[in-house]
Symmetry: C2
Subunit: 495 residues, 2 copies
């Protein structure tokens, strides 16, 4: 059947959708969700049919095309396209198989992932896949298969030199910005470390957001390679690289469903490492009541799975458990976190000791992993690189190679409110999650200068009237928002 195009001027960013009037659909026996093949001159595209009963949307004889489809077909309003119905993609059968609790092979995952990448699955089908993988959690072998399938359907990075170092933290701890410090030390030691990070989804800042206050993080794969070849290191936003693109599309559905499937998470993390060719990975699992992993039992279970998957992918992985009971460093929010990092790298005397310490321990382990340092001597070597100023030099070199950000991004918000201790004593508890919410209410991460500065940490003694936190915002309105979220005294428990 020939239908006349109506350009809907809508960009879905997802499934390729064409809207047909119900009577026309009936004629062709096309149902909602069916796959149709569209042809226009020499252009072809597969779309998912949406059916409307409303002539105001699409009149009989007309087909409404979302922008992506229009571009694929090179068909503007008024063009005639030929429509035919085609069978459902094989991937829908595979999704059904997963629903019924069966295991999927690499080939099957690849089929589904390819359809996801090409936007051939409907929103419902993708949601059903994600739900089924959550309910019947993936086996370790399935995680490996999913991981590989996500990598081969995206961009990859290759270096002739080995080893390729990498580091990752299973999030949930505010201010935990060891990455730029570790990258600087490891690259200064002569190793390659093309580190990709994510932006915040629900937190007040992701590593990519923090680094962006200092340098451009949206590099494509070629530019990234050039930076790493030149400096040994990089700290960029993974999202710009099209590594494992199916992962972003899966997370886009997982997030509103509030699904946090363990197998899917492991595949997501390891795919990014595999795609950049990492040979050695240090994985940090912080444990704490408000962190992603709550206790040692959970952490141990997760470690086993990561070890299995790493081994199968040929990545040498060391996994450490760290303290996730309170924020690391003093700042929460992009610029505030950046200042913590700068102070540590510059060896400022008021640099946050916990951030320095954690970065040195982790960099030390990494240096030992590839025998840059003898067993037990990694920390010492890392310390030397940091204290001698070699890390700072490397840090500057990397930022310059990526391209510096405008200085204003590092400026803190002008509107400030300080919260003081209402009694004297020892700090027994800090609600890290609540601090994140205050920073977000103050405008982080969009307002790079917004956030929370923590004056005192767990187990420190404070006197009545000592400052506990300072909130920075770029408008009085947002400062007010933040103050509404700040619930004292529950936020800091002083005994």
């Amino acid at each position: 059947m020939l239908l006349k195009v109506r350009d809907l001027n809508i960009h879905t960013g997802g499934p390729l959708i064409a809207i047909i009037y119900s009577k026309d659909a009936d004629q062709m026996d096309i149902h909602y969700g069916d796959r149709i093949l569209l042809k226009h001159n020499n252009h072809k595209a597969i779309a998912v049919a949406d059916i409307t009963h409303n002539k105001n949307t699409i009149r009989p004889g007309i087909i409404g095309l979302m922008e992506e489809l229009e571009n694929k077909l090179n068909a503007k309003t008024g063009a005639m396209v030929r429509i035919s119905i085609i069978p459902k993609p094989e991937s829908t059968r595979i999704i059904k198989k997963k629903m019924s609790g069966k295991r999927l092979s690499y080939k099957e995952f690849l089929m589904v992932i390819e359809e996801i990448v090409h936007n051939h699955l409907t929103e419902s089908e993708l949601a059903a896949f994600v739900t089924a993988c959550f309910i019947h959690d993936l086996t370790n072998n399935e995680v490996v298969s999913l991981c590989k399938a996500m990598v081969v359907t995206g961009e990859t990075l290759k270096f002739k030199r080995k080893p390729i170092m990498d580091v990752h933290c299973i999030g949930g701890v505010p201010g935990n910005r060891t990455t730029p410090i570790i990258v600087s030390i490891i690259a200064a030691a002569g190793l390659l470390i093309p580190k990709t990070s994510s932006r915040a989804i629900t937190s007040p800042s992701g590593t990519a957001d923090t680094v962006e206050t200092m340098a451009n993080v949206s590099l494509d794969i070629k530019k990234l390679k050039r930076v790493v070849m030149k400096t040994g290191g990089a700290m960029v936003w993974g999202g710009a690289l099209n590594l494992a693109p199916a992962d972003d599309k899966i997370i886009r559905v997982e997030h509103p469903l509030n699904i946090d499937a363990e197998g899917q998470m492991i595949a997501s993390v390891m795919a990014k490492k595999f795609a950049v060719g990492s040979t050695h990975l240090l994985l940090d699992i912080p444990i704490g009541g408000t962190a992603k992993v709550r206790n040692v039992r959970e952490a141990t279970k997760l470690r086993k799975r990561f070890e299995y998957v790493s081994k199968s992918l040929g990545i040498k992985t060391r996994i450490i458990f760290t303290d996730g009971s309170e924020p690391i460093g003093n700042g929460i929010g992009p610029a505030l976190e950046a200042w913590d990092i700068i102070k540590v790298i510059k060896n400022d005397k008021d640099a946050p000791r916990d951030l320095r310490e954690k970065s040195l321990v982790m960099a030390g382990i990494m240096l030992e992993m590839v025998s840059k340092a003898k067993p037990g001597r990694g920390y010492e070597l890392a310390c030397g690189i940091l204290d001698s100023g070699r890390a700072l030099k490397k840090f500057t070199q990397i930022l310059n190679a990526q391209g510096r950000s405008p200085r204003r991004m590092l400026k803190l918000g002008k509107h400030v409110r300080i919260y003081y201790a209402s009694k004297s004593g020892k700090i027994a508890f800090i609600d890290a999650r609540a601090l994140s919410q205050i920073a977000k209410a103050a405008g982080a991460p969009k307002d790079t200068g917004a956030g929370v500065y923590i004056h005192h940490h767990l187990k420190e003694s404070v006197k009545w009237g000592d400052p506990l936190i300072t909130v920075y915002a770029q408008s009085t309105e947002k400062l007010h928002h933040a103050s509404e979220v700040a619930k004292f005294p529950a936020l800091f428990r002083i005994n």
Copy 2:
């Protein structure tokens, strides 16, 4: 934040969606799939946010509204609407609970069903709910809860007179149109039977499609009540009545996912019965290799569940197993099936005996269920009503009350092709599913006169050259389509 409306002129028929430009969404910390509250003058609506990064779709400062939202807000292009973010509906927490395998209460089902009816769930959330209910199949108590929740959120029918008779068949057998015959007999016996039926989804005809060749089936609830009060019976399309509207929305997602969850199916069937106030139900489960239920074991399991749910809903239900190994009657397709029905009701001598027999047996059981006939005497009474012409009189009365369809809908397709037996012998197998496909390829159910007429049934003897089936179509093109689907000799096995 205030945004200016752009009318997208698209009617989704489903979730209420508003599209916002990414930077604006960032400002308000709105993510894809978040719920937003829109206000315009005194109008309010809750919508699901879709985010675009493409200025061609939605420019900064603009909000794109699907037609349903525009109507709810009474806001045309250029109007200003105030946007604020609101928490996710409670139902998303409940969906997550079902995903993790826990049971849901009536109150929880009601919350989800209400959100479904009001289009407050996204396509993904609905798909996740359906997937979770499929994977962790519902318990019988959950089926009862879901059923009640679907009924209270839709229209219901109430009569002062009791009993209210009903009959239902768990589909899959082509041509199985006992309903109009049973309704006529039962109503002629002085009982109330407001029978609702469905249209074809993937089959060549649903009962509603078949009846529509003779009478109007799209009645609203008031009109239906009037017809039943006047004649005692009705045979209408359930879809026009808004009974259990959530069910249609669930099926709309289930169907493309090819999900056929047993619990959901039972709730769907029983909700329609409960909504029209049925007190007595005869449920027919045909068993056959190509029917929905394949063997006695499956049928027995299903019977137990239906019995439990019926009892909880206070509906007296009798369940029978029937032969689903071959089509019932001679015609497959709306008009062809209607002619079978008419012949049976008129006592024509070439009326299909199997259709007559099955209808009489079922009507007989129903008459015994409410003591209109003594045990064992129901068949006899039904037979008397049919043979005396009282059923025909009632049938005509009901069709007239519903409003007659144009005569042309009963006309058979002009283009005909007959298939003959290629050898002599006894018919050992008829592929009912393949016959349905031929009827569909010929144009059924849209072309009401299209379909397949079966000349010989299972176990009958045929000679070389005897006609086996006649295919009717309204164009040579469709007749050709049908002939491509007709795969002889596999279709009829003659031994």
